[in-house]
Assembly symmetry: C2
DNA sequence: CGGGACGTTGTAAGCGGTTACATCCGGGTG
DNA sequence: CACCCGGATGTAACCGCTTACAACGTCCCG
């Protein structure tokens, strides 16, 4: 691996000049620049990121830590956290236009993952954390060391920036549609894991919406882990339940898909015998039949805002704390009982 | 941000000792170790990755560069490269057990992306490149500077390690099923982009399989870009075609799903009026109705092997070059015309 | 023709770790 | 009791790059 020194030697200049050329400083005479560039090209020289990071005090890397949910069954391809994938792409596409790169880590909640994030924090200029990857206290102390932006974290954070979506409005609109437009009275809910702030908000919003309509009852309320498998399991529970709800709203799309497929496999017609709804609007929700009625999250926007906010905070650590709530959009499709569109 | 010096000061030891404690060297007296650890805890000290990277000559970061396909239409949520997402998770899960982190970058093929990869190469110990993100020549010169493992790249590479899947066997088996079991005679193919070695192999394998069966004809052969939208577009072309093929095999699942949904939207029954197959076996292919007959890629395995190979090569740059082809598995489901399973 | 100003280039001191090597110290040995 | 040995710790060089500052023309002006 060649170094600045080697380049400087061969070009007959000092390392300072090489550095200036690399960074496009205009205090270099054109012919000197040419000579240096030629050597760089010849050697295939690329500056060492560590050395650069050490010297300027900035690594041009930001981290993204996200929970990986669902059970990792050996031998079985587990379903990946699709929600996160969308986010990763959104964040990456912002960074693409910059010098900054994205360091990624996934993991199941817990001690080891927290340690990993901690050690990762030494390699980055700032960190994006999705959901509750660690207890609030730890998160705050992390945020005291390096810039942190929480994605879909607790909304009541006062020491970190937060970018999240408006679960409440979205879920409320969906509930209103189910109750007012479809006239459902007995509504089931498949909640997400309690350690997800989003999951908690969605359940709470749905609960309140149902409570706001006399004559409506919320039952049963089941809990899953956001995985398709947990949706299927919930469906099996529901199958045995009397009286069955008319609709089951799920805290995310993957569980809704699990419910839907399990029902269909058991001969229950969706939405004829039972309606199902999701939340997130992932790719698969538009692909399943019937198409899933759900609440769309602005993934792209979420990733963009979070990435931009983080970069801003890296620039200026004194920025005032800021919580940003992005709107959601109810996507009424067929699984709730609405007529299927003739074509997509 | 605290440094080793600060920790050393407060603990009343030298930086060498702090370093020893951090790395669990056993030449430190237990009580000294305790004292140092206490200070580290108190300060929330985390060693700086750049400094570490510079000093040991290893950054404990590997990069993954992958193509982002499909058009980025403004205002429209584009479908993400699901295949890559699966791969990312696989790679990340290998790294999880190590000190190493994953630096990610996506981008459309082209000059800017190549430059980005080049600058990224200074921040990592090794690079995983998926498909043909750059011309073979450039790739090789990159590989001369840092360890590179190609995922799903050209199989004939002699200067880099390659990990890929057996497209040929998978596609051949699928074709045999369509021709021999279903008796299709007029087969269409929706190929992937010409810049993908995988896409080329799949087309070629299908072509040969059809040619090997007298009486069978391969027509039409269309080309897409691996996106769902390009599948839908192909379906519209097919709709107008006389005589229409009995089945259209697609070079990946997303295009197959695009074809399938477009057909269904136009009142064509799948597989009744026309059969459709895919390749990859992504999550959505099991969710769509009818379930997609496809060829399964061992994503996990692919990611594992590639990551492991790269780590091995980082350890020992003199390792002999090695190309590894992983088996694929034909997943016969319903979209080819086979009876749908009663339940999943 | 001396001297400032400016444009170009070089020198060298960090940045925050790691680690080879030196040092120190206590205890066992002949 | 001098000596040696080995375990614990400290010292300082070095990793490759950036950058403040110094140095060096050269040109222009008085």
């Amino acid at each position: 691996m060649s170094t600045v020194y080697e380049v400087a030697d061969r070009a007959g200049v000092s390392t300072a000049t090489v550095s200036r050329v690399i960074h496009g400083s205009n205090l270099v005479r054109p012919d000197t620049r040419e000579r240096v560039l030629a050597v760089i090209e010849e050697l295939g020289y690329v500056p060492d990121g560590s050395a650069q990071g050490l010297s300027r005090r900035r690594k041009d890397i930001i981290g993204l830590a996200a929970l990986e949910r669902g059970t990792t069954e050996v031998g079985i391809e587990k379903t990946s956290p699709l929600f996160m994938d969308e986010l990763v792409h959104a964040v990456e596409s912002v960074l693409r236009g910059t010098e900054c790169s994205l360091l990624l880590t996934f993991g199941p909640a817990g001690e080891p993952f927290q340690r990993r994030i901690r050690s990762l924090s030494g390699k980055v200029d700032g960190l994006l954390v999705a959901e509750e990857v660690m207890p609030p206290g730890q998160l705050r102390s992390l945020a005291r060391r390096i810039p942190v932006v929480a994605i879909a974290g607790r909304r009541d954070e006062t020491e970190l920036d937060v970018v999240a979506v408006d679960n409440t409005a979205g879920m409320r609109a969906l509930a209103a549609h189910l109750i007012e437009d479809h006239g459902y009275r007995r509504l089931g809910f498949l909640a997400g894991p309690a350690d997800s702030p989003d999951a908690r908000e969605r359940l709470e919003a749905f609960r309140q919406a149902v409570a706001g309509h006399p004559g409506c009852v919320l039952a049963p309320v089941l809990e899953g882990d956001f995985s398709e498998a947990s949706g299927a399991a919930a469906a099996r529970t529901l199958l045995a339940l009397r009286p069955a709800p008319e609709v089951v709203a799920c805290a995310n799309d993957q569980m809704a898909i699990g419910v839907l497929l399990q029902f269909q496999g058991s001969g229950v017609a969706i939405p004829g015998d039972m309606a199902v709804t999701g939340f997130d609007d992932i790719y698969a929700s538009r692909v399943v039949a019937p198409q899933l009625t759900t609440v769309g999250q602005p993934f792209r926007e979420l990733g963009h805002r979070a990435a931009q906010r983080l970069r801003a905070r890296i620039e200026d650590r004194e920025l005032p704390q800021h919580t940003e709530i992005l709107p959601t959009r109810c996507a009424i499709r067929a699984s709730c009982g609405c007529p299927a569109p003739g074509s997509r």
